[in-house]
Symmetry: C2
Subunit: 211 residues, 2 copies
């Protein structure tokens, strides 16, 4: 992080603070986090944090948006993909995540799920999580609707299907993190295929009839 000693923009500084926050939460957890712990993860003086953020709560709200933005920005789907392929890519990205630089998907998800449980007492965080949840669900709903229009998916309640898949993804991530079920995402992927998407794919029936 030697670039932090040179001339840096405000945006660079915020990113340094965000990554320091990440390291500090990974080490100390959310509940016991102190501003001092974040300062210790940075080469810059701790005063910089107070210049950019109005206290711990403001910093943590920005941090939550930061990890969600990175997560959402990373979903990369080919515009020309057929609905079945696009749905598979989206589900995989949500379940297994893309690879990031210093911290991987599961480091981020640990923090995500810890903050998620606190959202019950926090209107502002709840709003951020809700908008993330809606974004994830809607991206699945859109593909389901596209497939229905193209006649490759059966007619279903697309909203309900999107919500169900989003719930399964969310539960599997939580189970891996909280219960240590390392195979939960793979197991969930198979269950989604066998028991949920089977009601969706017109092709599967054709294949079954042909065999």
């Amino acid at each position: 992080m030697s670039d932090t000693e040179g001339k840096v923009t405000s945006k660079d500084t915020e990113e340094v603070i965000m990554e320091a926050t990440f390291r500090a939460i990974s080490k100390h957890g959310y509940a016991d986090l102190r501003m001092r712990d974040i300062g210790e993860e940075m080469e810059m003086t701790r005063q910089v944090i107070h210049y950019h953020f109005d206290g711990k709560y403001d910093l943590l709200s920005s941090f939550l948006e930061y990890i969600i933005d990175q997560y959402e920005g990373s979903v990369d789907v080919d515009e020309d993909a057929d609905p079945q392929a696009e749905l598979a890519v989206r589900i995989d990205q949500c379940l297994f995540g893309p690879e990031f630089g210093e911290f991987d998907h599961w480091d981020r998800m640990k923090v995500f799920h810890e903050l998620y449980s606190h959202a019950q007492n926090d209107e502002q965080h709840r709003e951020i999580f809700n908008s993330h949840y809606e974004g994830m669900r809607d991206s699945i709903v859109e593909v389901v609707e596209k497939g229905m229009e193209e006649g490759v998916f059966h007619t279903v309640d697309a909203e309900r299907m999107g919500q169900l898949i989003t719930d399964v993804i969310h539960a599997a991530r939580g189970r891996k993190i909280s219960l240590g079920h390392d195979n939960a995402p793979e197991d969930a992927r198979r269950a989604i295929d066998e028991f949920i998407l089977d009601s969706l794919y017109v092709d599967d029936e054709l294949q079954q009839r042909q065999t």
Copy 2:
């Protein structure tokens, strides 16, 4: 709680402490909870807590087992119910919960989900949650297997089906609590019916063919 001033057994005392812990967590949350907060919710002297429990962590572990025991003990299924009816009762109980005395299902679930996210850093709590998770999943797996034996359910991977339904229940409860989606359990129930159980029921196909 006037009986706490009379002669009480050790079991009674522990229940009083557990219910006081419940009230204290509901008010203050888990992260900021102090032994003093629990003491303030009891008519007995706070020393009683220290006599029965070896510190805050020991108390909270017992508390987690206490709410899970109550929850599991409350699932009440008629032995003679057919598999389809039994499955419905079990799913409903897990999603909507039974009614308890002073605190209802959702008060308990709030605490449950807050402690769940902390289990990532806590081996002992993780074990308690794992055994609860397995109990819930296995109870669904057993009904699915029973239905397969009786020929009223299609042959499926019962373990995977049980895990999928458990995940959906868990996610819907978390969504109601953390995101404030009050209809999440009802929505999940409908999605389970429409998209998961439809792969299971032999009857449904008959009905569809008949209409």
